[in-house]
């Protein structure tokens, strides 16, 4: 071992030194560039901090304000709806598609490769494309609707439609992104289990429910957690599609944070909202992890 030349160190440290060396660089980087700035943000949240610097400590004043801020709670609701909608649709779609592509049929391999391409372009580009497809006056989707003699749809104009449209874009990306993971997961399920179940008379759907789903439960948990975390942090699509409108219908919390911080220049207040968001996310993730252990 590396430490064989230093017998003076206590045995406990010597035994674990290797482990600490292994996690050391990564952890140092994470703490320096992630935890420390987060702590700094927490420190900012205790102050009335504007673009010219601090206007003094106000303790929990920002936090009290956040609790009273209707728009903040609204943004949490929007974020939650968006997360549930896009994660559910995206993951379900990815799973369904994975079930399709893992069948031993010719060309499925090609399909599998092509399905990942939407994940290769940036979120900003994808959202910009959808922005034009959803366009009320000149967009392709409304063109199809008018060709069928239907009314044009206010995809991004109407507050109710707008959130739905944003969810669709998120789900679309989610299907592509999670497909490889589910596909690999499905491939790893032991074939013998399926055969045994067929012999017992189980049909396709029953096999899916009692064998496939439990077998990929761990993967599902992993993708759900990452999908939730990702959705909470999503700002690129919102910016490109709606900028939080119309009438704040798509104002997710992270966008609200950017608004309060970079537009209104209330950096202390924005930091407080960030910590609320973080706490919310921690609770959600913890609940998610807990439910998996049962």
């Amino acid at each position: 071992m590396i430490l064989q030349h230093r017998p003076a160190l206590p045995p406990a440290i010597r035994r674990h030194a290797g482990a600490y060396l292994f996690i050391g660089p990564a952890l140092v980087l994470l703490v320096v560039f992630n935890i420390w700035p987060a702590l700094y943000t927490a420190w900012l949240s205790l102050q009335d901090y504007g673009i010219l610097g601090s206007n003094g400590f106000i303790g929990l004043g920002n936090y009290a304000h956040v609790l009273r801020d209707g728009l903040f709670w609204h943004s949490l609701l929007v974020t939650s709806i968006y997360t549930i909608g896009s994660a559910a649709l995206g993951l379900a779609g990815a799973l369904a598609l994975a079930a399709l592509v893992t069948r031993k049929l010719p060309f499925m391999g090609w399909f599998r490769i092509l399905y990942f391409i939407p994940s290769v372009t940036s979120l900003f580009v994808n959202a910009t494309i959808f922005g034009w497809l959803f366009d009320y006056n000149l967009g392709l989707f409304n063109y199809w609707l008018t060709s069928l003699h239907l009314q044009r749809a206010p995809w991004l104009q109407d507050p109710n439609w707008a959130l739905f449209s944003v969810i669709v874009v998120g789900a679309w990306g989610g299907v592509s992104y999670n497909l490889p993971i589910y596909a690999a997961g499905l491939q790893s399920v032991n074939r013998d289990l399926y055969e045994a179940a067929s012999l017992d008379g189980a049909n396709g759907w029953q096999r899916f429910q009692s064998i496939t789903l439990p077998a990929i439960a761990p993967i599902t948990r992993y993708t759900v957690i990452l999908a939730i975390i990702g959705s909470f942090q999503l700002i690129a699509s919102i910016d490109a599609l709606t900028s939080g409108g119309p009438e704040n219908a798509t104002l997710v919390t992270i966008k609200y944070i950017q608004l309060q911080g970079f537009e209104f220049l209330h950096f202390g207040y924005a930091s407080a909202i960030t910590l609320f968001l973080l706490a919310f996310l921690l609770v959600v993730t913890w609940l998610q992890l807990r439910s998996g252990r049962e």
Partner: protein
Amino acid sequence: MVLYALALLALVILLGPLVWMFGTALKEQSEIFTWPPSLFPKHWHWDNFVQAWQGAHFSRYFINSTIVSLVSVVTNVFLGAMAGYAFARLRFPGRNLLFVVVMITLMVPNAVLIIPLFLMMKNVPFTDPGGWLNTYQGVILPTAVTGFSIFLMRQFLQGIPRELDQAAAVDGANLFQVFWHIILPLTKPALAIIAVFTALTRWNDYLWPLVAIRDPDLYTVQIGLKYFIGPYHAQWNLLMAGAVIAALPMLLIYALFQPFFEQSLGNLGTGLNE
């Protein structure tokens, strides 16, 4: 047969918008938004790609993006793998707590850390005024390692029997030898995933490079892409052409690593059964 129809439908849904992107990239300014809208123009203006390449200074920016992404991939893969291995295999005091810390870093949105990171980079001691702003290291370091890499590696390793590396340790191999000669080859698939997803995320990063870089010579591809959005209107066709060009390297990376995906995640499935 029905299955192929479904597969084709999925293809249309997933790739349709990108086909639109490509079609728009080939259009003249006046053909972009017409009624009725068209997918492809009458004449395919391939010179849009040339214009996009030049206008967005892609020759310079590609180099920058490549450096940033490549270094990030290397650090993520190695440091992430090492940490993931330690968390998965080694027992040491504080292991669970430190892993929770790792998970927390996954949850902190990068967008809100911009200001503290900016200040930190500016104030790096012993550097000339400006700190590490406007440098490659300044852009790369904040995401040189992400919780994602560590998390993935750990999950993956939990699916590989401990006997393999324990046998090696009994034979007298030290930690590093076990890691290098046994773990790394076994986990090639997970490493491939870390590599691809890291490359993708870093290549498509926008906000931190924008804020951290002042010298246009160091700008990345995504910043260059926005070049076509003017204050009053955007050159949508050139923007889309630029987007196509910007996506090509990532497509290449994906194509190269894709075979690994299919092998690998098999273990990931069982690995997550903890």
